[in-house]
């Protein structure tokens, strides 16, 4: 019996989170160190899973399958495939770097890290679940801590509003998806939530076309699809740094991934019917999101809307229903996850010093924190799709995929590239270069060593995939092949 690495990975955070409650609440340093150690172990485990994944091997690897509630056809069924393996690694990276960045949490760190870890378990769980019920279960586990994390530790000005809006949006989205999922459960006649069996259930075309929008859009809400993206910018801005990193870096990928896993893979006929028009929604994401990012004055809102734009590309890739689109979407989920985690980390570092996020009030921070500035520039280049970085490796095939199906959409979507370049350059210039405003002179310090390590890790991931696509593309490719076979080799 092989080492149940996926279960350990999924349960480690929540068990550690519960253990944290046994720590005395005033031993903040100890709590932080414990959280850091757990996050590091989770990162190593996720790395081990990713590196051991064999692109040429079984479709699903590290399989664990236990009965849970057999009367209802619910099982504990976990595995990774080519698409979820990079996402598991992404979660490990974001978890580790997110905890590093959270060294400054002074108010009830014990509770903070406990809730963060519950969130992490939910995220890992969704990525590895092959049982639809378990997937929903972990999904809800991932959403509810967001409310507490934002409402208690977020930005005082909007945290309650943002937390409420985010949670309501995501719960409603998941309820809509759940309705569709239950429809599948009851109609299949198989009395099982096992998704591999449901893939073969043979739902009628009419059934699939009816229920696909429920499931897909319900989950895509978490992916930030227009017009249901509204929770995201406010949620990003109000959340504390590590939570923003999780939110944009991983949670939004959760939505896209679930939309793929439960929507596209289980209802392929529905996908083929609806995605051709849904791609227009993603086009709005991509282009409109970029324009809105350009006019923001709050540093964090720029990044928030940039996420809306880039997630649009992921769902656009899905909507092409072809190899290139899925391949690019799979890489983009990883690439954007790392990039946006880096962005929010650096924004947090600047905010910690400046206590403002208004761009006109900032400036000259490259002299204060040069490594952070360079890291942000690298993230910016990834965001623009600059070749040599992972963003290009991801965006290029997505565009190729769009060319195959809707050439004019590719042409319009390309506008976002220039808009992204212009707002990135503007933000970099105004925040990091120029003059350090009077009030900050002498009151700022550089970032800590561990924070530099975190930024270094994030940059390494983006540059590594950018220069050597073969470290990720074959893995994603193997997962995409399976999706395509379900779609009938489209």
């Amino acid at each position: 019996m092989q080492f149940p690495i996926l279960s350990v990975l999924v349960l480690l955070p929540i068990v550690s989170g519960v253990l944290l409650f046994f720590f005395p609440s005033d031993r903040k340093k100890l709590i932080y160190r414990f959280a850091l150690a757990v996050a590091f172990i989770a990162f190593l485990l996720s790395l081990a899973v990713y590196l051991s994944f064999d692109p040429g091997g079984e479709r699903y690897q590290f399989v664990e399958h236990y009965e849970w509630l057999p009367a209802l056809g619910i099982s504990y069924y976990v595995a990774v495939d080519g698409i979820s393996a990079p996402l598991v690694l992404l979660t490990g990276i974001v978890m580790f770097t997110g905890v590093i960045i959270s060294h400054g949490i002074d108010d009830r760190p014990r509770e903070f890290f406990a809730f963060l870890f519950i969130l992490a378990t939910g995220v890992f769980g969704v990525f590895v679940s092959l049982d639809m019920f378990a997937l929903f279960f972990f999904y809800e586990i991932a959403v509810f801590p967001m409310y507490l994390l934002i409402a208690l530790w977020g930005w005082k000005v909007t945290r309650e509003y943002a937390a409420m809006k985010l949670t309501l949006y995501l719960f409603i989205g998941s309820v809509v998806a759940l309705v569709g999922a239950l429809a599948m459960y009851f109609t299949s006649g198989l009395h099982t939530f096992n998704m591999l069996e449901l893939e073969q259930a043979g739902f009628s075309t009419a059934f699939q076309q009816l229920w696909f929008p429920f499931v897909f859009l319900g989950f895509a809400v978490l992916g930030g699809i227009f017009p249901f993206h509204n929770w995201s910018p406010d949620g990003h801005v109000a959340a504390p740094t590590a939570v923003s990193m999780f939110h944009a870096g991983v949670l939004m990928k959760l939505g896209a991934f679930a939309a793929l896993r439960v929507g596209i893979m289980l209802l392929p006929e529905g996908a083929k019917f609806h995605l051709p028009w849904m791609i227009l929604l993603t086009l709005v994401n991509v282009v409109y999101g970029a324009f809105i990012a350009m006019v923001q004055k709050d540093f964090k809102y720029v990044i928030g809307f940039s996420s809306v734009s880039h997630m649009g590309l992921v769902i656009m890739g899905f909507a092409t229903l072809n190899f290139n689109g899925f391949l690019g979407a799979g890489v983009q989920m990883f690439s954007h996850g790392v990039m946006t985690a880096l962005f929010f980390a650096v924004v947090g570092m600047v905010y910690d010093q400046a206590h403002t996020r208004q761009i006109p009030e900032l400036g000259g921070f490259a002299k204060v924190m040069p490594i952070a500035a360079v890291a942000f520039i690298i993230g910016g280049l990834v965001s623009m799709g600059m070749p040599g970085f992972s963003g290009f490796i991801a965006e290029f095939p997505i565009f190729m995929g769009v060319w195959r199906t809707h050439p004019w959409i590719a042409i319009v979507a390309a506008i976002s590239i220039v808009v992204t370049a212009s707002y990135i350059l503007r933000v970099v210039g105004q925040v990091f270069f120029g003059e350090l405003p009077e009030q900050f002179v002498g009151h700022t310090r550089d970032i800590k060593v561990l924070e530099k390590v975190a930024l270094g890790l994030l940059c390494l991931a983006m540059i590594g995939v950018g220069l050597f696509p073969s470290v990720m593309v074959p893995v994603v490719e193997s997962g995409v092949q399976h999706v395509l076979s379900l779609l009938g080799g489209a």
């Binding site: 290139n324 070749p387 060319w403 195959r404 590719a410 370049a421 350059l425 593309v473």
Partner: protein, 521 residues
């Protein structure tokens, strides 16, 4: 040794990047060490390029290219790491690897953040070399875009200290910030069409391999995306043309150039004018003409018209400048106009009765690319030398400097004459070839561009007259240091080549000619 000999091009390509990373590890305060490491590191690709040059004729030819290397890179979308040279790219590689050490030497007077500066410079070299060496369209695009980033920072961080421009709606920024931003966004926007067209080519042809595309893409028939193939090809053609036209630059897409060249640090301008502009022209020759021969023929008239406008208006604009550096910047528009005129003539006449003239025009265009690289790098450096001493680029502030700095004056006159196209120096040879080649094909445009040549003489002589001749501006008496040894060493190879190519150009023209005949004969 074998390991190196069949990876020569990869070595040439990546040595600068590896050196850039090494430089980042050097101790921060030792500027001298950083400068010398950068200089030695930049001489390595030059030495290797010479090795390639001298072994060129004996090397086996595969798909029309020599020293070919191909490795898997992004297999999932059929893009490989594929590099190779022919006479055209080798000429450009030689220019790049020659100008970079010269520009590094010219940068020895940079005092701030020397490590970052040198690292960016070397990364820039890899970017430029990659464009010239790439035999895969995706790889071409990767290097095309990558080169923008170091240049953006070089202008933004080390560019002119003075000057202010309005970026948009009341936001005032330093002139160098404005220039770098405009450069980056303008070029990226232009490259969008190129990106889309490349994606489309890849999707339709199933490969990004350039030699393969030459056959597969040109051989396409029927309909694409529900439109006739020729319509799609025409759109893709213009997408490619716009991207390259911005880079060359072809009038009226040139407006980013005067600001970028003027505000860039001296060595940055040398490389910008010396090599980066040639990337656009190279794109025309390597990609546009072979992939879209019919569309190129149809569009050649427009291109020739724009080229003529560049020659004439570039010259007029240069003549009207008060800022010496901006004058030289516009001279680039003027000189590159001849390159485009030659390319347009060739696009129109290749394979027709005027094929011989087309080849002559192509020879002229490519030689002009090399020559302008030398002379513009030289001119920008000389402007930098005088700026170093006077802290002004205003021509009205100078005057009568010749007796104070005779050696500098002599060098300035020499280089200006090459820029002007004086027979006996390199500029004459290439401009003559372009005019001779384009005359039978586009007589009217060629005749008009000779009018432009008249004004070329005017602005060059204005530059010399305002700085060196006339009454001495008293504030410089005793204040002006003569050109120093390092600066002479920077100019010496350029001047030697300008003379050599002017008197006996065959050593380079032979290689160019054979390449042009092989590509378009």
């Amino acid at each position: 040794m074998d390991f190196f000999s069949d990876k020569l091009l990869s070595l040439i390509l990546f040595t600068p990047a590896v050196a850039a990373l090494l430089i980042l590890l050097l101790p921060k305060d030792n500027k001298r060490l950083t400068r010398w490491v950068a200089l030695v590191a930049s001489l390595i690709p030059f030495a290797l390029a010479l090795v390639v040059w001298f072994n060129f004729d004996g090397a086996p030819v595969e798909f029309g290219f020599r020293f070919r290397e191909q490795y898997t890179w992004y297999a999932a979308i059929n893009a490989t790491f594929h590099v190779g040279v022919d006479g055209l790219s080798l000429t450009m590689v030689l220019l790049t690897t020659l100008l970079t050490p010269i520009a590094v030497l010219a940068s020895f007077n940079v005092e701030e953040n020397v490590k970052a500066y040198m690292a960016l410079f070397l990364l820039l070299e890899t970017g430029m070399l990659g464009v010239f060496l790439a035999l895969d369209l995706l790889l071409f695009f990767v290097f095309w875009e990558i080169g923008l980033v170091p240049m953006y920072f070089l202008i933004n961080r080390w560019g002119s200290e003075k000057g202010e421009r309005e970026l948009w709606k009341g936001i005032k920024v330093k002139a160098r910030t404005y220039a770098s931003f405009k450069f980056m966004i303008y070029t990226m926007a232009g490259s969008l069409g190129l990106l889309l067209a490349i994606q489309m080519l890849g999707v339709v042809s199933g490969t990004f391999d350039i030699p393969t595309l030459f056959e597969r893409w040109t051989g396409l028939e029927g309909t694409l995306f529900g439109l006739p193939v020729n319509t799609v090809k025409t759109v893709a053609f213009w997408a490619f043309v716009v991207a390259f036209a911005i880079k060359v630059p072809v009038w009226p897409f040139h407006t980013w150039l005067p600001d970028a060249h003027t505000e860039a640090p001296t060595a940055g301008s040398m490389i910008l004018a010396g090599v980066l502009l040639k990337l656009g022209a190279y794109g025309f020759l390597r990609l546009v003409l072979p992939l879209y021969p019919d569309q190129a023929r149809a569009g050649a008239g427009v291109l020739a018209f724009l080229a003529t406008m560049a020659i004439i208006f570039g010259a007029f604009s240069a003549y009207g400048q008060k800022d010496f550096k901006r004058l030289v910047a516009y001279s680039s528009v003027n000189h590159m106009g001849f390159v485009v005129l030659g390319i347009a003539a060739a696009a129109y006449a290749v394979g027709t009765t005027n094929a011989e003239s087309a080849t002559i025009a192509l020879n002229g265009a490519v030689l002009q690319m090399f020559n302008h690289g030398l002379s513009s790098a030289g001119m920008f450096f000389l402007v930098g030398v005088i700026y170093e001493r006077t802290h002004t680029r205003d021509l009205e502030e100078m005057g009568g400097l010749f007796p104070l700095v005779p050696v500098y004056g002599g060098i300035l006159i020499f280089t200006s004459m090459a820029s002007l196209g004086l027979p006996g120096l390199n500029g004459f040879v290439s401009e003559f070839l372009v005019v001779r080649g384009a005359w039978p094909i586009f007589t009217v445009y060629t005749a008009l561009s000779m009018l432009g040549l008249l004004f070329t003489g005017a602005y060059v002589l204005k530059g010399i007259a305002k700085t060196l001749q006339g009454p001495l501006n008293e504030r410089w008496r005793g204040e002006l240091a003569e050109i120093n040894r390092r600066e002479v060493i920077v100019m010496a190879p350029l001047m030697a080549l300008m003379l050599w190519l002017g008197v006996w150009p065959a050593w380079l023209l032979g290689v160019i000619n054979r390449a042009m005949l092989a590509l378009f004969g």
